[in-house]
Assembly symmetry: C2
Homo-oligomer: 435 residues x 2
């Protein structure tokens, strides 16, 4: 064990800021070859519709479908998936879905209005999007939890039609993913993937209705395609690698913290797991736990690489400083493994999700606590939010002027419009000024 398992840093080091920046540095690679492949696929699907989708699907997923019909999962197949998983798995999906639904209902926004003294009414009308597309990756990255986390908020929002696309390489589909779709209330499942699936959802084809928004994770082709159609349709965030930041007071079982760090590190080699603690001896203990437990993981190679290249155990002066560092990082997942996490909460300015106390590991939030596991990565918690019901609702401003109100407002509008050399604006307002 001469090799470093994980970087050790001390916030009091003079070069700490720089070393932390280096540790956090991550930039999505924009690949011009990928971009040009994706551009072609988008163009083909836009101009040739279903025919292009079929061709790409047969080619990339090694299918031999003659028509789009063959790529649609029927309602029966979907229901059938519920019997192809164990009763324990089904129960777990159902409990998770119900908890996610119940939490997300709190996010529903409702229309509001108020009336001014002169009778003018102002407000905002909230409505759901009509059609949403949910992208689910194929193969091993095909996560049922991801289906629940994306589909349930859309249905809580009241989306009319939720279409899920999931590639079935060699015709293979995960029964857990289909079962999750059935439980979450997905309206339609089509076994297509890649940029061709994004294009079909964004532009519409003969058999697939154009959607208003596309959500869900995907590989670089999917992410590039989503970025390209952004504006035509809405998209969710384009996620970077997953990360966890744990603030610990040094009193949680070190094995627990090591495993919490692993639960991030096992995702992929770019994932990032960082622990902040004021107690250097505790950091030693966690490092020992890491050394002992890491080899016991089935995904230990991935976790080892992730911890070695992107992980860190950081000694801070006190919990106060830990919070400061955390706010600078704006982590996707923040675990407050301390005695009184509520004391810290008001000081947390930027974080995707905050896991409070020793009994709240990130894994619970990933699956079934209720809140969403689609969270802002790579410091974007500074300006973005967990996926939620609000991502599937939109607002219309409401303005209804009384004659008296219009007369007064028109005088103001007239002055401003004329200052902007927009005469028709001014005259349109002036017609509504009384005598």
């Amino acid at each position: 064990m001469s090799e470093t398992l994980i970087t050790r840093l001390d916030a009091s080091q003079s070069d700490f800021k720089q070393r932390l920046d280096e540790l956090l540095a991550w930039e999505s690679v924009s690949d011009t070859r990928v971009a040009s492949v994706v551009d072609d696929i988008l163009h083909q699907v836009k101009t040739r519709g279903d025919a292009a989708v079929l061709e790409f699907t047969n080619k990339f997923d090694r299918r031999s479908a003659k028509s789009m019909d063959e790529l649609v999962v029927t309602a029966d197949q979907l229901k059938n998936a519920l019997t192809q998983i164990t009763p324990e798995q089904r129960k777990a999906l159902e409990v998770a879905a119900e908890r996610i639904r119940s939490y997300h209902k709190h996010q529903l926004q409702t229309s509001w209005k108020y009336t001014e003294a002169d009778g003018t009414v102002l407000g905002q009308q909230i409505s759901a999007m009509e059609r949403v597309g949910l992208y689910v990756p194929g193969g091993k990255a095909s996560y049922p939890s991801s289906v629940l986390m994306n589909a349930v908020p859309a249905k809580v929002a009241g989306v009319d039609e939720l279409t899920m696309v999931v590639p079935a390489p060699d015709g293979e589909l995960s029964p857990m993913v289909l079962a999750a779709a059935a439980i979450a209330g997905v309206d339609r499942v089509i076994t297509i993937g890649g940029a061709q699936a994004v294009a079909a959802l964004a532009y519409g084809t003969e058999t697939i209705a154009k959607v208003d928004k596309i959500v869900g994770p995907g590989n670089i082709y999917v992410a590039t395609a989503k970025r390209a159609v952004f504006g035509q349709v809405a998209i969710d965030m384009i996620a970077g690698p997953s990360e966890i930041l744990v603030i610990c007071d040094g009193l949680t079982d070190p094995d627990w913290i090591a495993m919490d760090l692993f639960s991030q590190a096992e995702h992929d080699e770019q994932a990032q797991a960082i622990l902040l603690c004021p107690d250097a001896e505790y950091l030693d203990k966690v490092e020992a736990s890491i050394a002992r437990l890491l080899p016991t993981l089935s995904r230990n190679e991935i976790a080892t690489t992730s911890l070695k290249n992107r992980g860190a155990l950081i000694k801070v002066a006190d919990i106060e400083e830990a919070v400061e560092v955390s706010n600078r990082i704006a982590p996707e997942h923040l675990e407050l493994s301390v005695a009184d996490p509520e004391l810290l909460l008001p000081k947390i300015r930027h974080a995707g999700a905050i896991f409070m106390g020793r009994f709240t590991p990130e894994a619970l939030g990933d699956y079934c606590a209720g809140p969403n596991h689609v969270l802002p990565t790579s410091g974007t918690a500074r300006f973005s939010s967990p996926l939620g019901v609000y991502d599937f609702q939109k607002r219309s401003s409401i303005i209804m002027c009384s004659a008296a109100g219009a007369s007064e407002l028109s005088k103001v509008a007239s002055v401003l419009a004329r200052s902007e050399y927009l005469e028709a604006h001014a005259r349109s307002a002036e017609y509504r000024i009384k005598d």
Copy 2:
């Protein structure tokens, strides 16, 4: 007057759907030359900071600044602008700002949480972004109302530092724009523009702090730069040409409706103004008003081109059908110039802002009614909302499990994690299962 002033359509025509689609068709031109110029500017500013910003500003805006200091508008200059406009203008800006502020306060979201039977606490913590950049175009497109509409919601949200950038070609700045910035509470004004200003805000330089979000309109260079930095920072929507859809029952003064249509058409040649009415004779009257009033407009050339190429007077069977057509268009501005607009409101599914009744012309919403004038264009009201306080706030999920709650949830998480072959997730949860 042999030339067509404005297209006349009838929703009962067999080719109506197709003709409407042709009328609405609009796609933003992505210009590869612009993209490559912008890429270079972004790269220069990212790597060379202030020096690059200075060079580009001196070059493009014909300035001769030696340092960034010379490009900063001082607090005194800002305050001074209030004395360089007429008292009537100042009053109008103040009334508008106050009404916008008062409306937007209704949009403030607050943190919430709830406790489950076993003591587990779930919720969402809402906080404001720290730093926001507001882009304001220079020259004639430098609209004070746009400063109010972007700055006020950001300050209502509680943004710590709002930096406004506005180019000053040949050193010239609009006093109305500076006055609006002073009244809206903008924290800092820097006279830079173009892609270099977007880059400075997105990446930060020696003198300009990196912001979390960039909002505000701009030309194709600005829009291209915003699209390129999207992800690094948040951006608002990238707007298409402005549009209005008027639904009229045929009982509003035709001159009023003609002028309401002009108030959109005068913006630019791509702007779109459409009227829907079940009464063909009324459409004739509006067409006559258009013919008579159009030549009296100072911007009559722009309005004439806009109406001729993109405008339409459309005969519908009834108001019901008008609402259907409107929902298909998902207009930025929707005027319900009818006797009882409240009856129609629940049927309106997609619209940026809804102007209800004969006394509510769009112009009032553009300046001072209270709601925002930054609205989703080109049918994007299907999935996006007016700019609002919510665009400057973000959310963090809160999860605090009791020991009992953690034990139960961990059992569910363990099953799901193992189904996804994420063993560390499962084991992290399993540590929290009691005995």
